[in-house]
Amino acid sequence: MTAANLTSVAQAEQGTSLWKDAWRRLRKNRLALFGLAVLTAFILIALLTPWLAPYAYDSQNLDLGASPPSAEHWLGTDIFGRDLLTQIMYGGRISLAVGFVATAVALVIGVTWGAVAGYVGGRVDAVMMRLVDILYALPFMIFIVLLMVVFGRNLLLLFLAIGAVEWLTMARIMRGQVQSLRQQEFVEAAVSLGLSPATIVRRHLVPNALGPIIVYTTLTIPSVMLLEAFLSFLGLGVQPPATSWGLLISYGAETMEEYPWLLIFPGAALTLTLFALNFLGDGLRDALDVRGSGD
């Protein structure tokens, strides 16, 4: 047992200390802190974009055309004379929103599914997890492309389609957690107090499984954002007049020979966010002492 573990045992008697302890360990991880800072900044910027953006979303200066970074346009302008910084800020709102909303969808489905399977057990569990196994084997990337083609390129559907793909691992993790937790005395105590299964799952099992859930959620967001960007790059995701980082990268790639900044800045925004989320996820895994089943 390491020193860190010993302190966590000692502190466990003080109630909320798991989180305090995790936070102390996270604070020592510079990369994770950097990720947290970048992420917080980007989220704040995304929330405040309508007030922070230097230009209106639809403002353009056709006479200017594509111009390199300058004092008026910090990141330059695109071929229609639109301010690139403004475009990236508005695009970031969509990219981040897809990341968070689709992950939330996956979280709700996965946690519910896994908790029910793990708590009820028996034949219900066998059937539910067998279904997860079958879905796991389906090539989902191709299915999402198919869904986007069949149902038109609609943002809401994009959320749902991506969320519907990403819940599987969450369900497996949750089931494993619930299975090990339900043997413990505090759950027996809750049962003998006459609490309903739904209450036990909500009040006792989910809070105790929060560590792995948080870690896996942090690592799901970047993979979701990558998926959105991939679809948008192919023209099957976010559609103009809306924009996202994936779409901006795809425009930038078309004209990169003449106007490389149109590729590099949106690319940097996306890569930086993915970096931040991955570092934060890895840091949280170490801080919360979760053995990941994700990789």
Binding site: I134, I142, L146, V149, V150, F151, M256, L263, G267, N278
Partner: protein
Amino acid sequence: MWRFVVGRLLQAIPVILAVITVTFFLVRIAPGGPFDSEKAVIPEVKAALEAQYRLDLPLGQQYLAYLGDLAQGELGPSFKYPGRSVNELIAAGLPATAELGAYALLVAVVLGGLAGVVASLKPNSAQDYIPMSVAMIGICMPTFLLGPLLVLLFGIHLEWLPVAGWGDIPGDKILPSLTLGAAYAAYIARLSRAGMLEVMSQDYIRTARAKGLPEWQVVTRHALRGGLIPVVAFLGPAFAGLLAGSFVVETIFQIPGLGRFYVQAAFNRDYTMILGTTVFLSTLIVLFNLLSDILAAWLNPRLRAQYGEA
């Protein structure tokens, strides 16, 4: 071992059937018929077309007829390219895609495996940190960004390599293969490092050292086999990712492969083409997953013992 193989094969069948069924009905419930165009089509012509594509039959019969076709390896005609079948289009696109995928896989396994093994031999040294930091960049940098950036650097600024094409100019296969393989090289580097670290602390490695084998032989003859099991198990999912990645890479580098056909079919709403390609690619992915599972099991002596030798 055979029981394991047969068991896995039997598991793959419902999955493939599910893929076919879901894809078929998804495509059929899509809004807008394939022959609804701006121009009014003469009713007789439309009826003849619908009969040719069996759209006049009830949905259930269409499905059964499609299954019958598939059983004979017939993926159906294309809506958009009259006179050409999905089989022909796949045959035209598959060679380029397969070659691209094979090179990318080679890049991934060789570069990634090498980086991971090298890093694992001296953990927490520069020899570990440098390749692993590069791998982190590889994981975070999406294919569709890496590709254009490589083109910008090696194709346009340095003018070392061609910027597009496939098999037209010498060297034009290098950039696409690197682009597609990079992310998987990064994953494999991480996996093989973790796998090797675990294996190197096992008793049988200590035994190998104790009997006086030089370190490089300990690594190549004893550690690699166990250390690379996670990598082999990863190859199945990686194959699915490589196929999806090839959609992007083929678009960027204008390679006439399956991925590009698929994306074009998606834009053209060429439903039979989408259906046929989805079924084909999905089956391929399921089979590759199967292969990678079997290979990983065969490499793992514990699993082999459990199912008995051959």
